[in-house]
């Protein structure tokens, strides 16, 4: 479960990104964060990852107040959270298998564990046959699937996605969303910041709208609610 309690975030330049935000996201939920650019969506994901810390308030992830984490403990929080970005962020000089294996390698998995786990994750995103290809040899959708496989390979309980379909054409975006849906059905909590109106409207999941750092709408089976 994720809890944001009275969260205020003011950046060093004085920008108030979040203003007294209170949210509860249950385990296994699928949540869209929507709102105009600069509204505070990305700040929420950064607070969950402890890439930023709150100015005041508390953020609980699986019962642990991450605002109080020591610097040395932050990596262990991040191992519970998979993350997918709009620009994929793959290592260009490593093939698909190595990109996914890298996520296991950096947290200390053995070669045996890597050899066993990576093919199964690649298979779940439909990329088994492209394991030896380099990212530049793949389409945008395939690259995003590699990024998804990398985010999933360590079995995170939470998956954060920041505009994951932003660089994809509509049909590829739909395919990626199906994979997200499947992952969610297996029990992973998904928090997705997005501007993709059609996707949000089609998925009928919980929608939290943020404007000027305030939660202005929170609907169980919501819609995008803005002009695209």
């Amino acid at each position: 479960m994720i809890v944001l309690q009275d969260v205020v975030k003011v950046y060093e330049n004085g920008t108030k990104a979040l203003d007294d935000v209170n949210l509860i996201i249950e385990k296994g939920e699928f949540v869209f964060l929507v709102g105009p650019s600069g509204a505070g969506k990305t700040t929420i994901t950064k607070l969950l990852m402890r890439e930023e810390n709150v100015t005041s308030g508390h953020v609980y992830v699986d019962g642990e107040d991450v605002t109080l984490l020591r610097e040395d403990d932050i990596p262990y929080l991040r191992r519970k959270i998979g993350v997918v970005f709009q620009d994929f962020r793959l290592l260009e000089d490593r093939n698909v298998f190595e990109n996914v294996a890298f996520a296991m390698r950096v947290i200390g998995a053995t070669k045996r564990e890597i050899r066993r786990r990576v093919p199964s994750v690649l298979s779940s995103v439909g990329l088994s046959h492209k394991a030896k290809m380099l990212p530049k040899q793949l389409s945008g959708g395939e690259q995003q699937r590699v990024a998804l496989a990398r985010a999933l390979v360590n079995n995170p309980s939470i998956l954060i996605a920041d505009e994951p379909t932003g660089n994809l054409n509509p049909s590829t975006a739909d395919e990626i969303m199906q994979i997200f849906d499947l992952i969610n059905k297996r029990g992973t909590t998904i928090i997705m910041a997005t501007h993709a109106k059609d996707i949000v409207n089609a998925m009928k999941k919980r929608v939290i709208a943020i404007e000027d750092g305030l939660v202005v709408r929170d609907e169980t089976k919501g819609v995008y609610g803005y002009d695209a």
Binding site: M49, P75, R78, R79, K80, R89, A103, I107, A151, N155
Partner: protein, 308 residues
């Protein structure tokens, strides 16, 4: 979920070390130009450090030899009876810094002069046995020649000592060369170390910049700070290590060439310390300095430019 069972802690496994080394080597070869520049700065630094190390070893070698050869002669007042002369040996040995004290009686001295200086003309010294012009004396060796003045002064305080002779000027000259060499070496070494550290630090900065995307990804997928930083330390140490090996090879070759040139030109009265007598300590100094400079350079850069 298998990752949850992983313990938080400081354990570094052999697998991690292999990974750090492989990443360091990969980066070492990938940044060809900067790595070469950094390695050769370390070589330059350690080569000059090596010249001064060799000088220091040799000055120490000369000063040890001088110390062994350098004797102080303590002359005893005429008319001192034999019992008192013998007793004085203990008093001399009790003086701080005195290593040994050997008696040369006036008889021994006359005998020495006869055999060494008047060989075949001993008749010229007839009559000296009854009226020996020499004095009883003690030949003294010291533990530390730099303390000679204090020792001489203490010896003069012993009753019945007539005079104390020493080779103060020679000792002073050797000590002065030794001190100048030591001080100059230290300052030049310090300067070169700073230059090398700065260059290695810059090389690592470039590596950090080149690998910023990878570092960023590592951060997001839960790599610990140590795991992200260690390959950069290893890269710095590899640069230092390779630089130290090359510098050691060069200085050894140059030193042997120098000894051979002295022998060839009949200048072997400059007896230099054989290479084998200093090769191990010199190798250790080179490796320690090379790896140390590398670690320091990378550590500065990682602290300054790698925010994980």
């Amino acid at each position: 979920m298998w990752f949850v069972t992983k313990q938080k802690g400081c354990t570094v496994t052999m697998r991690d070390i292999k990974y750090f080394i492989s990443q360091a080597l990969r980066s070492f070869f990938r940044n060809g130009l900067m790595t070469t520049a950094a390695v050769f700065t370390v070589v330059g630094c350690l080569f000059i450090v090596g010249i001064f190390t060799v000088l220091l070893f040799n000055v120490r070698y000369m000063s040890d030899r001088l110390q062994n050869q350098c004797e102080i002669q303590v002359f005893i007042e005429d008319g001192t009876d034999e019992g008192r002369v013998a007793q004085m040996q203990d008093e001399i040995k009790a003086v701080a810094n005195v290593q040994s004290a050997e008696l040369f009686s006036k008889k021994d001295t006359l005998e020495y002069v006869k055999t060494e200086m008047f060989e075949g003309k001993e008749s010229a010294l007839v009559g000296f046995e009854d009226d020996n012009p020499f004095r009883d004396s003690y030949k003294i060796t010291l533990d530390d020649i730099s303390q000679v003045a204090a020792t001489v002064s203490a010896l003069k305080q012993i009753p019945n000592v007539a005079e104390v002779k020493n080779e103060q000027e020679t000792i002073d000259a050797v000590l002065s060369v030794s001190n100048i060499t030591k001080n100059a070496s230290l300052w030049i070494m310090l300067m070169l170390i700073i230059i090398s550290v700065a260059l290695i630090s810059n090389t690592i900065k470039i590596t950090v910049f080149n690998r910023r995307k990878e570092i960023n990804i590592m951060k997001y997928i839960g790599a610990t700070n140590r795991f992200i930083r260690m390959p950069f330390f290893f890269e710095g140490m590899t640069i230092g290590f390779v630089g130290a090996l090359i510098a050691y090879g060069l200085i050894s070759w140059a030193y042997v060439a120098c000894i051979n040139a002295l022998v060839k030109n009949n200048l072997n009265f400059f007896e230099l310390l054989p290479l084998k007598n200093m090769s191990l300590p010199m190798a250790l100094i080179f490796l320690a300095m090379g790896i140390g400079i590398g670690a320091l350079g990378s550590s500065i850069s990682v602290r300054k430019h790698l925010h994980v």
